[in-house]
């Protein structure tokens, strides 16, 4: 069963015992061709462990408003199809719906994207990757949950390996309902998201940083082989 605690509240479910990291992630000593010995600590060498910071908005409201307008009108989606709903993203790029005319583009790298669309059910395995991808995106960033699976588990409600409520693991700005939602619903959702961003309410990244411990506890509750640092930008 999943943990269900409100942000700020203490996690009542008991902690799971930590598993030892996989062998390829353990620190080890490597000998180079010229005979030098180097210690390799994959978790330290490849990732950053600094927790996310809260990035305050610009000091002047008028500047922040301008920035928010620009952010709303230039939405770059991380192209990462997480569930069956992802299939509805493709028609959006085609002549019939043509999301590009709204300033919506797809970027295949989390670094350049500012909107993460979780397109449907998230298995625990994918959740791990989704979290890492989300953490690699730059502040401010937004999350849209697509389809009923992200809201209440949908038809995977009693499945053992999918999560039920996305907003326990990532700060969701907007849900788009349906199983699966039509591209029109998606477009309507994106336009709604634009309103949220323009109103300055798209502060999910800061919410994530503020309630970091709570999010991490929830994530670790379902991901059993954690095998990565708590935060990996």
């Amino acid at each position: 069963m999943e943990a269900f605690v409100k942000p700020g509240e203490k996690n009542r479910l008991k902690e799971r015992p930590e598993r030892p990291a996989k062998e390829e992630l353990q620190p080890r000593v490597v000998t180079t061709p010229d005979g030098q010995e180097i210690t390799v600590e994959p978790l330290k060498d490849y990732y950053c462990e600094a927790p996310p910071k809260v990035h305050p908005p610009a000091y002047f409201k008028i500047v922040e408003d301008l920035f928010n307008w620009a952010r709303a009108e230039s939405i770059w989606i991380l192209g990462f199809g997480t569930g069956c709903g992802a299939i509805e993203m493709r028609p959006l790029m085609t002549p019939r719906f043509d999301a590009y005319r709204y300033g919506i583009q797809w970027r295949p790298t989390p670094r350049q994207a500012n909107l993460f669309v979780i397109s449907g059910y998230l298995s625990v395995k994918t959740l791990k990757r989704a979290i890492r991808s989300y953490e690699q995106m730059q502040n401010p960033k937004y999350v849209v949950g697509l389809g009923s699976c992200t809201i209440n588990g949908g038809m995977y409600w009693d499945s053992y390996n999918t999560i039920k409520r996305l907003d326990r693991y990532l700060p969701v700005d907007l849900y788009i309902t349906g199983c699966m939602p039509r591209p029109e619903a998606l477009l309507a959702g994106f336009l709604e998201l634009k309103k949220i961003i323009k109103a300055g309410k798209g502060e999910g990244a800061n919410r994530y940083a503020e309630n970091f411990a709570w999010y991490k506890a929830n994530q670790k509750q379902v991901i059993h082989d954690w095998d990565m640092p708590d935060y990996s930008w």
Binding site: C48, K53, H55, L66, F67, A70, R71, E73, S74, G79, T94, P95, D98, Y100, R101, G103, Q105, R107, P108, T109, R111, Q112, N114, Q138, N139, P140, W233
Partner: protein, 301 residues
């Protein structure tokens, strides 16, 4: 040689005009490509918003020193190229910092940005970056060859290494353009031009189907914005050189706008019609078609 301080504000003005023209032009080209595909495409001002958005992102992370410098080098390549060639022929204001041997410098600047980018992208550590850089450098090296041959053919033809003098020699009707006096050199250079515009069939660097973003995979926020700025300046700077060397230069801004648009259009037309080459196909293509024409151009002169 005396240095005129008045050149600085005019150089900045040039930069300003070119950045704005570039932002609109690239959006227009994307729109044209979208129309070919039956879409509406992005709004014409979309590039401004994307740029502002990227500068407005609050956080940025770094992968090291060269990672910082990559976009800076890239931008230096574009701006440098623009500032050292005469933009408007016969105008003392907009000839910028051009000087007697500027052709060599221009050739160097075309390559310079790619090298800086290669170092920066290499340090980002992403496998796609490394693959993109390898692909990019092999193609750029290959595409540079016919361009260099064509440029030398032109230099031999006009007996000078100064772009201004080359433009001067082409004045007096379009039949004096290098396009008509030395068509082989122009063909070789235009084939090379296709290779460096990052459009199909030669977009092996970004390779949207295999390594979706290529070298800039790890770049974000302000770094990416710097590179976007360069991406609008650099093609125009390059087109300016082509315009000056082969198409008679431009004696005022309207002519400049029209000619740059027309030359840019060549790569877009080719791009929307053809699918993408693989790396070895593209290199072979340059070897088989562009390089012999370049050599022939030199021999004929």
């Amino acid at each position: 040689m005396t240095f005129e301080w008045m050149k600085i504000p005019f150089a900045l003005l040039t930069l300003f005009i070119v950045v704005n023209y570039g932002l609109l032009l690239t959006a227009l080209m994307q729109k044209i490509a979208a129309r070919v595909g039956g879409r509406h495409g992005i709004p014409i001002y979309q590039n401004y918003i994307d740029l502002l958005k990227n500068y407005a992102l609050r956080s940025a992370i770094t992968h090291g020193f060269m990672f910082y410098l990559g976009p800076v080098f890239r931008l230096t390549g574009g701006v440098g190229l623009l500032l050292f060639v005469p933009i408007i022929y016969g105008s003392p204001m907009f000839s910028n910092m051009s000087f007697a041997g500027d052709l060599i410098l221009a050739l160097y600047f075309i390559f310079f940005g790619s090298l800086g980018m290669a170092l920066g992208a290499g340090e980002s550590g992403h496998p796609y970056s490394a693959i993109g850089v390898t692909r990019g450098l092999s193609q750029v090296t290959m595409a540079e060859l016919p361009l260099a041959l064509a440029v030398f053919a032109v230099a031999v033809q006009y007996q000078t290494l100064s772009i201004t003098e080359i433009v001067a020699a082409q004045q007096g009707g379009f039949l004096h353009w290098t396009l008509f006096t030395n068509p082989l050199a122009v063909i070789a250079a235009m084939l090379s031009f296709l290779g460096s515009m990052m459009r199909p069939p030669f977009d092996v660097v970004l390779a949207p189907q295999e390594i979706p973003i290529g070298p800039p995979t790890e770049y974000h926020s302000a770094y990416l914005a710097l590179m976007q700025t360069n991406r609008v300046i650099f093609p125009i700077a390059k087109i300016v050189i082509f315009m000056n060397l082969f198409f008679g230069g431009a004696s005022n801004w309207p002519v400049f706008f029209v000619k740059v648009f027309a030359i840019y259009m060549v790569s877009v037309l080719v791009g929307v019609v053809f699918p993408r080459f693989r790396v070895e196909q593209s290199i072979r293509w340059f070897m088989v078609w562009a390089v012999p024409i370049g050599i022939a151009a030199i021999l004929i002169v």
